[in-house]
Symmetry: C2
Subunit: 199 residues, 2 copies
């Protein structure tokens, strides 16, 4: 299935251009605040091309959500591979921060949509949410099971807390003091947490 014939490559490139334009614009203006004409413009592509590559604006959006969160989950999992719980948490935060640094627009978008109710794509959102959180929950559960974290630590609440803290800290960092190195922010974030790694 690794098509690398010229046509598919071209098509993939176009899709990605549209994709990135859409993420950036929707993060800035929200879904309904963004027009397909704008997306096409920013992608440097004709409007017809957007609809040639995606069934609808909504379909584009759902695909975009799934893709972005899949990437985050994958990077998180590979970052914690083989690490004991304490180090895993630090690694998780590091991965989250650097991910948001690279795909800041996507993080904004995620934050904006994650707790919305009554949407047609509610189902997609829930799936996406679960994918992002479950990595953290697993690490915390392993840590509690091995006695490394105190048993009173509620894995779901803690995972939400970590996730939320990471998101907000990262976005604030990129918005207000983007010159600070990741490590500094990571350390700052870890300092608030009870679960300190040896680092």
């Amino acid at each position: 299935m690794t098509e690398s014939d010229g046509r598919t490559r071209r098509r993939d490139a176009t899709r990605r251009k549209i994709f990135e334009a859409a993420v950036a614009l929707i993060a800035e203006q929200g879904f309904s605040g963004t027009t397909v004409d704008e997306i096409a413009d920013r992608a440097g592509v004709a409007k017809g091309t957007v609809f040639y590559n995606f069934a609808s604006k909504t379909a584009l959006y759902e695909e975009l959500l799934r893709y972005g969160v899949g990437l985050l989950a994958a990077e998180s999992r590979s970052a914690i591979e083989g690490l004991p719980p304490r180090e895993a948490i630090a690694a998780l935060i590091g991965a989250q921060l650097s991910y948001i640094q690279r795909y800041r627009a996507f993080a904004q978008l995620l934050l904006a949509e994650m707790w919305r109710t009554n949407r047609e794509w509610q189902q997609t959102i829930l799936l996406v949410r679960e994918q992002a959180i479950s990595v953290i929950v697993e690490v915390l559960e392993a840590g509690v099971a091995s006695g490394e974290f105190p048993p009173e630590l509620d894995p779901r609440i803690s995972a939400s807390a970590l996730f939320g803290a990471g998101l907000v800290v990262a976005l604030d960092w990129l918005l207000f003091s983007p010159e600070r190195p990741v490590e500094e922010v990571q350390a700052g974030l870890l300092a608030v947490l009870r679960t300190r790694p040896s680092l």
Copy 2:
């Protein structure tokens, strides 16, 4: 200035109805995803009445932001009054949680808009943000100054982390296990934090 004239009372009631309808709908669907017709409908009021009471959809939205965050800041400040840093943090979290419990729609809305850029109301958002965060920063700074918190604790980063953790935990709580009592969630959240209060 406490006008309790029949007309003014009626008008205030109408404004509040529109207000509440707008918060709920915008939280669910976003600003551009919500139509003025919907707001009027949910408020049980004619569309013209919305524009009679608010200059524009945007003006309504900005007023709504300022009002909501003002309330949060006020409750936070009164919750920490006279408390030493550690207890103040616990109180802050408690206040934040119970605020979000009452005005969940507003919290969603805040989360969705806070890191958006390129909007006409960017200025309003920044003000609102600062108002919410500064309460936390002050407590943290006082704690570091008095030696109660370690000096390596970065107040701004920590404040963002606390704020983000609180928001996300609260929204998850209300969405997925609203039957749990506040205290339990508060305790769960505090357990993740290094800064434990004596309670």
